[in-house]
Amino acid sequence: MAANAAGICTSFKVEMLQGFHALSSAFRAADTLKAALYLQSQSIGPATTVYSVTGEVSGSGYTAGGVTVANATAPTSSGTTAYWTPSASISYSGVTLGSAFDCWLLYNSSQSNRAILAATFAAQTITAGNFVITMPTNAAGSALINAT
């Protein structure tokens, strides 16, 4: 049975070293990042390399590709840990998503939709409401992405 799994996408680790991803404007213009939701029946995870509409949720108020992720806080470090977190919650407002979903994929829409990470949660549906992903504290050890 297929299942979504959490983790940093392996392709992102390679592409980070290759210079594909700009999570801030420190070196060049920051890329636009997006977040898409996936159905429980899918296999999104560390092996995912790009965003795909296959298996993505659909429903009233939801646009394929998901929503843009706020990225106003540049990556930084503390001690030997570099870290980064989106600068605001990710909100899907006024949606109806009738099929159970349990995963969201962060990806770089400026760089051919290259995948960054997948995160999982208990399966949900939304009816005429909002689904909000609240970010963790942006600090070493708790940030969304930690590089140690």
């Binding site: 959490a6 030997t80 949660f121 939304i126 409401g129 909002n130 909000v132 609240t134 708790s142 140690t148």
Partner: protein
């Protein structure tokens, strides 16, 4: 009168009852809090809030 947007349009808040729940699995990266809104026995709205608590790690530390 306070109106709430639902699958049946705007409904007076007094006609709705809410059920609050939390959802978590062993493998999850966060906990989901949900609020279900019922008009009688019919679910007319459901919201969810995912609070992430597990960071994503690159690397396994450098020992320093």
């Amino acid at each position: 009168m306070t109106l709430v947007y639902t699958s049946e349009g705007l409904v007076d808040r007094k006609e709705l009852r809410t059920v609050h729940q939390q959802h978590e699995t062993e493998e999850a990266d966060g906990i989901v809090m949900s609020v279900e809104w019922y008009r009688g026995d019919k679910l007319v709205r459901r919201d969810g809030w995912l609070n992430l608590y597990r960071p994503q790690e690159i690397g396994v530390g450098n020992g320093s």
